[in-house]
Amino acid sequence: MPDLGKYADTVLSAYAASLLLLVALVVLTIWRGRKVRREMETLESRVKRNG
């Protein structure tokens, strides 16, 4: 851990906030991507069976 001096809180909170936002963005993106992919596959198989 480098010595951040009197600005330790500033630097750490900036890193924490940014990384949290980035991780949230990636997680939400992948979560929605998987959900939509599953939905499409069920729908496709249903449409094919019926039509």
Binding site: E44, V47, G51
Partner: protein, 204 residues
């Protein structure tokens, strides 16, 4: 002045509803469109009127020739009957609304506000708007909704007079207007869904 439609496909909300339609409408003729609800008659009429682009095919002889009447009449409730008609006449670069008022028996109502008319009277006013446009091709979507028998006859007379002057009319309706008109059932032109496996820009 002939309206020609060749190999027309139309879509509603990105989904094709009718395909491969061809017909032509010569002056002095009327064409009645029939077909079950939801088949795409309104979509077809809007496409012919140029309000939406066709998926495929061409519409010729429609631009600046058509007058369109749909479910809503484009009337302003706070303007009088005469003011409403005068407005539409001048938008189409014409004047003189007397003939239209006479044709749909609106003379007695001319100074009444459109908001105070009954549904049938409003409809008559909306239809009389076709007369003040001076356009040769009338495109009408269920024009007889909320009209009584006498008013339907009035409407049929107006269409007949219009055809007699070399005009033409494309009408989607379920009732018999007593016109000498060809009938086109759009049912057989219902779009066939494409194969499910391979999707492209249409996502189907």
């Amino acid at each position: 002045m002939t309206l020609t439609v060749t190999d027309l496909s139309v879509a509603r909300g990105g989904i094709p509803v009718l395909e491969g339609l061809s017909f032509s409408l010569a002056s002095g003729k009327a064409l009645i469109l029939r077909g079950p609800n939801g088949i795409g008659k309104t979509t077809l009429l809007r496409t012919v009127a140029g309000l939406q682009p066709p998926l495929r095919g061409q519409v010729e002889g429609a631009e600046d020739q058509i007058a369109y009447a749909a479910h809503s009449d484009g009337l302003k409730p706070t303007l009088t009957v005469a003011e409403n008609l005068t407005f539409w006449a001048s938008v189409f670069g014409r004047n003189g609304i007397e003939q239209a008022l006479d044709g749909f028996d609106l003379q007695t109502l001319r100074d009444r506000q459109a908001g105070a008319l009954s549904a049938g009277q409003k409809r008559r006013l909306g239809l009389s708007r076709m007369l003040v446009t001076g356009r040769p091709v009338w495109i009408m979507d269920e024009p007889t909704v909320s009209l009584d028998t006498a008013s339907v006859a009035m409407f049929a007379n107006a269409v007949r007079a219009h055809l007699g002057q070399g005009g033409s009319a494309l009408i989607a309706t379920h009732i018999d207007l007593g016109l000498e008109a060809e009938v086109l059932d759009v049912g057989p032109y219902k779009a066939k869904p494409p194969e499910i496996d391979d999707f492209d820009g249409d996502f189907l």
